[in-house]
Symmetry: C2
Subunit: 324 residues, 2 copies
């Protein structure tokens, strides 16, 4: 064996790991990105610490069809069943509207035992409406008997960080207003230590949300206050936030959603809250565009045309891997 060649290979490997560690903290595979109607492509985002296959799934509107596409395109080099059962370690549900939970309910017969996390209002609806014997079967460990106990419900407390077992991730929940009095949730995900890297990076995912001005709420402002120190410290790697409608949508028909103009105002509030910092390097992933007519294109055009919105816009694709 050539000891020099062996040493050189080791050096290269370490350098590659180190470079990789500096480059990304999270791997995200969107299983569905649209804001309704299209049953094959609804909000669901698999998130892992970079270099790990231990994912959590943020919302679960579409699972099977998204995993199928990711397997077919080589994003996952394994079976659909293995991704569903073994890669996804836990679900975090932002709110219980059907376009955020249909995939979870529908795939429950083939899933493995795991935990569903959410604020209590959300878990209550899963127990009372979906995992019941008349509308499906009760795969949960609470609610209508008999209990199949495949899923354990784990209620979250706002602001309290929990470690997600069998992953390298930690999650904190923040309440959102989604067509007051209805609620939704933002999840702040922290990537902890993996074999390949140590870091303290965060990713913020917001479920459906209205703007504070429209909702007569301060939920988004409170969230911006909570994450402002992370933004200033350069620890926030990405924000996933919804823009459901184009600007032409009348205010009274927003139903607890954002437009490009409302997103711009909220991002301006975040920048101001973080001490007037520039967000131009912050990746902002636009979720939940409603596919009616040409709305998806309109929303993208309006966001890209707004020069006061200084963020790094990303329009995710189903099964299109993202690294942050």
């Amino acid at each position: 064996m050539n000891i020099y060649r062996s040493g050189w290979t080791l050096f290269c490997l370490c350098w590659a790991l180190e470079a990789g560690a500096q480059k990304t903290s999270f791997t995200v595979v969107p299983l569905g990105v649209r804001g309704g109607l299209d049953e094959s492509n609804l909000s669901a985002y698999m998130v892992a610490a970079a270099g790990s296959n231990d994912y959590i799934c943020l919302d679960a509107g579409t699972l099977y069809a998204g995993i199928r596409k990711a397997v077919d395109s080589g994003v996952f080099a394994t079976s659909v069943s293995n991704v569903l059962k073994n890669y996804i370690k836990a679900y975090f549900i932002s709110h219980p509207h059907l376009d955020h939970v249909a995939g979870l309910v529908m795939n429950s017969p083939e899933d493995s035992a795991k935990t569903i996390y959410g604020l209590p209002f959300c878990l209550d609806v899963l127990k009372e409406k979906y995992f019941t014997w008349e509308s499906w079967a009760n795969f949960g460990d609470e609610g209508e008997k008999p209990l199949l106990k495949k899923y354990h419900y784990a209620p979250l407390s706002p602001g309290e960080e929990i470690a997600v077992p069998n992953t390298h991730l930690y999650v904190q929940a923040f309440p959102l207003s989604h067509g007051a009095p209805y609620q939704s949730t933002a999840f702040l995900v922290r990537s902890g230590e993996t074999l390949a890297q140590k870091n303290d990076a965060r990713l913020l995912y917001l479920g459906d949300t209205g703007a504070d001005t429209i909702e007569h709420s301060n939920k988004l402002h409170q969230l911006w206050e909570a994450i402002a120190p992370l933004v200033k410290a350069g620890k926030l790697k990405a924000v996933f936030i919804e823009v459901s409608f184009p600007n032409e949508q009348p205010e009274k028909l927003l139903f607890g959603h954002l437009t490009p103009a409302l997103l711009q105002k909220e991002m301006a509030d975040l920048a101001k809250t973080a001490g007037g910092i520039s967000l131009s390097d912050l990746p902002v992933v636009i979720t939940h565009r409603k596919p009616s007519g040409n709305q998806e294109r309109m929303i993208q055009q309006e966001l890209e045309a707004d020069h006061t919105l200084q963020v790094k816009l990303i329009f995710p694709q189903q099964a299109g891997r993202l690294d942050f």
Copy 2:
């Protein structure tokens, strides 16, 4: 103008209409055909009198993704929105499991006003579980207030035929047993008069159902008794029936579904009930195969290999038009 050519064209047109009238009575466009898991392809069958674009939709697991595929492949020469809003005149829901109603709920914001028909047990679950303000929004005209009143609930009485407004179709409901004590429904559709033809043909669609022997029920036998005269008279153009699992599925894990062997027994009972008639010319469309592993292929192979099952087997494709 050449009067001979004009007369010849008219003759050809009349002949074509007449031949068409003799050939088919129903057009069916499956919007989804799988028995669970795959959110992009779940039970939903658009049915119209031949020559008409006035459809009813039998179950509504997947709407948008199926219509999109049918438009893209040229089965419908119009927009997705036009098919959803204007081609589908009414929904008939066999039972309220999520894989049979998710498309209806999810597309409700973009749908036009129409009627949802079903047996009372089924409509009650729609009102109490899905069209509520916590799990979605109440687009119905009953249930949790405020009522958006886009959908009118029309309860059916077993065995009583109703005319479906704005179509050339008439429908009769029969109760089924689906994992006793839970129920499901069969719809017997009659094609009435259209501009192109007069006829009295029938199409039978069964929602999920267990076998009488397993369910300790006589619901399927009662259905066979009701349709036996139509079979004998050659008026039954097709039967849509589920086979969810292959024969290897243990009896205690059937959850109110059929296997190839159980279908064979039920078809034998139908043939016997109809006076020992041969069913070898009866098109039997196999619905609701569960896509886990290679089960879909196994079910097809087992059905095709069973020489005691003497029917004309059809395995429908999503967005693949069928004419009966």
